[in-house]
């Protein structure tokens, strides 16, 4: 048995010696990863929806009613020149009314003249968060009477996304700290059980790196087990939620991303956090024994 094998074996052994605490720290790191993962995935999906909405949505720049159709069409190049505008489509009064009548076929609209509607431009934006500025710029064009940005929904999503990202950021921070704390305390049990061995190791001149190694291994194994379990649970839960939501969203423009497209980054981040928490927990646990 070589030196490395010896150290690995020692790391594994202590996991089973402290079965309950090991179970507790795997569970806790798993729970932490699930919570932060779910929030993260939620944020990603909202972000994705915002993208969808952005590509679908448009704001309307309505032309002054005194303008003739020709005069109105002449404004197109000015509208297109406004920053953040990706494309512009001219809609005549007649088209606008037809559209409207199609959406609301009730009798209420009977007899309404096309002249009640005004010529307009459907303007697509690049960045939704700049909607207010872009609307303002459009309003300043001579001949544009009014801008209706019906993008409150998308803006609402932006707010939700920001809140969710913020919350997940804070959660990640808190949960990582909590996980490390619990991990460290689990491994401290092992260090306590082996304090005499550690003292002897130090006395005969083992390096700190050597003394740390089994505890590092213990932490890494616990962290990795937690990460892998969390990954599969997240996958299962996501798929169930995904099916439910997608069923309700049929025909809508927004879409939930399937887990398979997100799986690799989720796995990598989980493993990364698992390794980090495990290693850090192990190092904290042994710290006090290496002072002299």
């Amino acid at each position: 048995m070589n030196k490395f094998g010896y150290l690995l074996k020692e790391g594994f052994k202590s996991i089973f010696t402290h079965g309950f605490m090991s179970f507790a720290s795997v569970t806790i790191i798993m729970a932490c990863l699930l919570i932060m993962g779910s929030f993260g995935l939620l944020a990603i999906n909202i972000d994705n929806m915002i993208g969808d909405l952005e590509s679908e949505n448009q704001i309307l720049a309505i032309v002054d009613e005194t303008y003739t159709e020709e005069e109105a069409r002449a404004l197109e190049s000015q509208v297109a020149a406004v920053p953040n505008v990706t494309s512009v489509e001219f809609i005549t009064r007649q088209e606008a009314m037809d559209d409207f009548a199609e959406q609301y076929p009730e009798k209420v609209f009977e007899g309404i003249e096309a002249s009640t509607f005004r010529d307009r431009f459907a303007v697509h934006l690049d960045d939704l968060s700049l909607t207010a500025e872009t609307s303002q710029a459009l309003r300043e064009i001579e001949g544009i009477a009014e801008v209706s940005d019906s993008l409150e929904i998308a803006n609402g999503f932006v707010t939700v996304r920001n809140v969710v990202s913020g919350v997940s950021m804070v959660l990640v921070l808190i949960l990582v700290i909590v996980s490390i704390f619990i991990m460290a305390n689990t491994i401290k049990l092992t260090t306590y059980g082996r304090r005499e061995e550690i003292a002897i190791m130090r006395m005969v001149g083992a390096t700190n790196a050597f003394i740390r190694f089994p505890f590092l291994v213990e932490g890494l194994i616990l962290g990795l087990i937690g990460a892998v379990l969390a990954f599969f649970i997240e996958w299962g839960v996501y798929d169930v939620v995904f099916d439910r939501i997608m069923a309700g969203l049929v025909g809508n423009i927004v879409e939930i991303l399937p887990f398979t497209t997100l799986m690799l980054p989720v796995l990598i981040i989980y493993l990364g956090i698992g390794v980090f928490v495990g290693a850090f927990g192990g190092l904290i646990a042994i710290r006090n024994y290496l002072k002299v």
């Binding site: 006395m203 005969v204 001149g205 083992a206 050597f210 002299v292």
Partner: protein
């Protein structure tokens, strides 16, 4: 080997454990360090292992400046020392062979070398045939021999023993001291802390007496000043 010059140690609590101690121990010497309980003997041992740093003065051990040595270099110093304690400090769930082999493993020795060296050292301390026993299946004297084997196994320049016979009966104590004497004769420097007067007087060795943190006598003829 050991060079102490004007060494004082004040513990954080304010205890002056050592005051103005100067002492030289040369390679190959056998030295008894004697004194009443609380006189500072263990503190002196801890200065040598780097567990305690001098508050002032110079401490040199096997070429290491103990006031300045970096913590990460302490393992290097400790590989030149074999340390023995009153309470043996064996690992309960490892057998005799594994307890001794442990000291080699943790400094990265090869399995082949361990298999060669450990039986040799166990034979030297008189524990041949006891390899598979657990510590609790041995007498106190035998347990202390395991600790001596462990201290010896990495071939240190110096053995330091803090009251190694404190838990042994007089016959076993004498046996153990004779073993340390033999190890000294084979070339290893030995420093033994004790407060057992008869035991010290049974040997004609250099005796350093310490009281209240000061050296009060240092004779080379087995003289034991402390009463």
């Amino acid at each position: 080997m050991i060079h102490l010059q004007d060494v004082s140690v004040v513990y954080p609590a304010g205890t002056h454990a050592l005051e103005g101690v100067s002492l030289d121990v040369n390679a190959g010497e056998f030295v008894f360090l004697v004194g009443p309980s609380g006189s500072g003997k263990t503190t002196m041992m801890k200065l040598m292992t780097g567990e305690v740093r001098p508050t002032s003065g110079t401490v040199q051990v096997n070429g290491f400046d103990m006031a300045r040595v970096k913590r990460r270099n302490l393992p290097k110093l400790r590989r030149t020392l074999g340390v023995i304690f009153q309470d043996f400090r064996l690992i309960d769930n490892k057998n005799v062979f594994e307890n001794v082999a442990f000291a080699m493993r943790v400094v990265g020795a090869k399995t082949k070398d361990i298999k060669e060296r450990v039986p040799h050292v166990l034979e030297l301390v008189g524990l041949k045939g006891r390899e598979k026993r657990l510590p609790q299946e041995l007498s106190g004297g035998e347990q202390q021999r395991v600790a001596i084997a462990r201290a010896l196994v990495n071939a240190p320049d110096m053995i330091i023993a803090d009251e190694p016979t404190g838990n042994l009966d007089p016959v076993k104590s004498l046996d153990l001291m004779m073993l340390l004497e033999r190890i000294n004769e084979m070339g290893t420097t030995v420093v033994v802390v004790t407060h057992e007067k008869e035991l010290v007087n049974a040997f004609s060795k250099r005796v350093v007496s310490i009281e209240e943190g000061r050296i009060i006598s240092d004779g080379s003829d087995g003289y034991y000043a402390y009463e």
